[in-house]
């Protein structure tokens, strides 16, 4: 064969392989409002940056007449490319090829690109669109999932791992996304569950749609499995690209630096947003925007456990991870979900060298039998663990209430915050004034001629004496009591002087956190 005919043979083979499951299957994919796997990769990555590998991989299954079937690329596309000019490894399951089902070679392609990502120390992005295990390949598909989970775990905290759910992701397959750093889902397209509606119907007789069981909204709002929720695939890709502006490429690097811009203080004026009365709500995200570069804030897990706010902002051009109580929702209490949400984010930031800013205004833990029985002790402990363990610069701003266990948990000096600032509106005390007065002055109140009058008087006295930042400041637990509009200045300085922070950890393999 001549060079020319060899080249044309290659081209022919390639043009067949890139068709995936063929025109009919592609048509069906498009009719569901979905892009094809290859289109998704091209849409997400920088223009013309994608290079594909393993296009000619074939499955090796023999049972059930599988040897007579040819599956293009075995239902998954892998390769490398760029996002925002930085390299990434990527794979996308191709639903048009045997429903994107995961067989032995399919999994081998995924683990190959994951291994590449680890060697090259670049992020790995997985686009999930698969019917699940390829049943014809039996235990080999299970092996494939296990190999992926192992690599997800090893890569955790080393390289960013992003899961994009753009179709079904069911059964064991869900655990790869669950092990990764961020899960992106799209309304009406993404579905994630362990047991699907059919099994639930046959076992329970309960009817539920896929969307109601494990759609994007459910995972973004109720389960907390999804970190980002989008209305369309396009919006989802924009979110991914924006996230990548805030995070470093691996755990030995820091995130890209941008030109510093002052906050838009005309739109976000802290004196207008912030009510001094501790029972009045406000949106803490507006306070964040009143101090961050260009009033930017990129929120993570916006819809789930909204009583705590987590996300990224920039200060002097550099990424900072923010954890803030949200008085707008449930008065900003800590509970099972909000503790989980914050704790994982703190560990993420710590793993990837992102300084932490904690903004405190909470009445304490959510009371109730359901919270106690749901394990608020175990879950709340995660927050203490995550903050204590984090060795990145830790800056805390106490805005209003910081009572009892909530004060300790929200990155207090005692969990080794580097800098703790408080506004003059801060109330830092062992418990709320009424409760404290009732305990300390129990006898005096009981023996008084007018107990209610004495109680009110004692509560007021306690409030005057203790519901302020100065008692904590007198012990040095607060470094500076600052005016509201000085916050950015103090935070910028604290970040600047913390840049070479080093913490020597005790010699250990790893801790035993209260997972």
């Amino acid at each position: 064969m001549s060079l020319r005919s060899k080249t044309s043979d290659l081209r022919k083979r390639m043009s067949e392989a890139v068709k995936g499951g063929g025109d009919k299957a592609i048509e069906k994919q498009v009719s569901m409002g979905k892009l094809t796997a290859r289109e998704r990769i091209i849409e997400l990555l920088d223009d013309k940056s994608f290079f594909e590998y393993d296009l000619f991989v074939e499955h090796a299954a023999k049972d059930f007449d599988m040897d007579k079937k040819k599956l293009a690329g075995d239902g998954v596309i892998i390769g490398t490319g760029n996002i925002n000019g930085h390299p990434v490894c990527i794979y996308a399951q191709d639903f048009t090829v045997a429903g994107g089902s995961l067989g032995y070679m399919h999994a081998r392609k995924i683990t190959k690109i994951m291994d590449h990502a680890m060697q090259l120390k670049v992020p790995i992005i997985g686009i999930n669109d698969s019917g699940g295990a390829r049943i014809q390949e039996g235990v080999n598909s299970l092996a494939g999932y296990g190999e992926i989970f192992y690599r997800n775990t090893m890569a955790s905290g080393v390289i960013p791992q992003i899961s994009v759910i753009l179709g079904p992701c069911a059964g064991g397959a869900v655990y790869s996304p669950a092990l990764t750093d961020y899960v992106f889902m799209v309304d009406k397209i993404s579905k994630m569950f362990i047991t699907g509606p059919e099994v639930i119907k046959s076992v329970l007789g309960e009817e539920i749609s896929m969307e109601a069981l494990g759609g994007a909204k459910v995972h973004a709002e109720t389960t907390g499995n999804a970190h980002f929720y989008a209305e369309s695939e396009k919006e989802c890709f924009e979110q991914i690209k924006e996230l990548f502006t805030y995070i470093p490429w691996n755990n030995k690097k820091i995130a890209d630096s941008f030109t510093a811009k002052p906050p838009k203080t005309r739109s976000y004026k802290v004196s207008k947003i912030f009510p001094a009365d501790p029972t009045e709500p406000y949106d803490v995200r507006d306070i964040i925007k009143s101090i961050s570069d260009d009033s930017g804030f990129f929120e993570v897990q916006e819809l789930w456990a909204a009583n705590i706010v987590i996300g990224f902002a920039r200060f002097n051009g550099n990424t900072v991870g923010i954890v803030a109580n949200q008085p707008l929702i449930l008065a900003g209490v800590l509970d099972v979900d909000s503790s989980d949400k914050a704790a994982r984010f703190i560990r993420y930031c710590d793993a990837f060298n992102i300084p932490l800013l904690t903004m405190v205004d909470l009445p304490g833990y959510l009371p109730g039998v359901d919270q106690e029985h749901a394990g608020v002790i175990r879950h709340g402990a995660k927050l203490l663990y995550a903050y204590s363990e984090a060795s990145v610069p830790k800056i805390t701003l106490i805005m209003r209430k910081a009572y009892g266990g909530g004060y300790i948990a929200m990155c207090s000096r005692h969990l080794k915050a580097d800098f703790v600032f408080a506004w003059p509106t801060a109330e830092i005390a062992v418990m709320g004034p009424t409760g404290a007065a009732n305990i300390i002055f129990r006898k005096e109140i009981a023996q008084a001629d007018d107990p209610e009058a004495v109680r009110a008087q004692k509560v007021e006295e306690y409030k005057q004496r203790f519901a302020n930042p100065y008692v904590a400041a007198a012990y040095g637990y607060i470094d500076s009591v600052i005016e509201l509009n000085e916050s950015r200045k103090f935070i910028l300085h604290a970040l600047a002087v913390s840049q070479s922070k080093e913490v020597i950890m005790p010699d250990k393999k790893h801790g035993v956190p209260p997972f």
């Binding site: 076992v203 329970l204 007789g205 309960e206 709002e221 109720t222 501790p278 029972t279 009045e280 709500p281 916006e302 819809l303 456990a305 909204a306 009583n307 008085p327 707008l328 929702i329 449930l330 008065a331 900003g332 209490v333 509970d335 979900d337 009445p363 304490g364 959510l366 009371p367 109730g368 039998v369 359901d370 029985h373 009572y403 418990m431 709320g432 004034p433 009424t434 409760g435 009732n438």
Partner: protein, 108 residues
Amino acid sequence: MEENNKSEIVEMRVGDTIYKTHLNKMYKDRKPYRPPNSRELFSFIPGTISEVNVKKGSKVKEGEVLALLEAMKMKNQVLAPFDGKVKAVYVKSGQIVPKNFLMIELER
């Protein structure tokens, strides 16, 4: 977030203070606590009732198998927690039950 903004600001008590705030889905979906009652036998797992060995009025001994609840490839035994009498049976053989479904009521 849009849903939270649609909801109204309400008063919520934490400790000794009443705060003005929005509630979330998790909070609204809370179920009031019911103390456990050993006379009521609930399904502890969703499944299919494959056998019912008692009927209303049956005398039962502690540890007696009252019914079988087949779930997750396992025939789970529903045992009598004490010596007593069957007050009511709410399931029949072949019935599919969800979790926390009242199957049998006993009396001492």
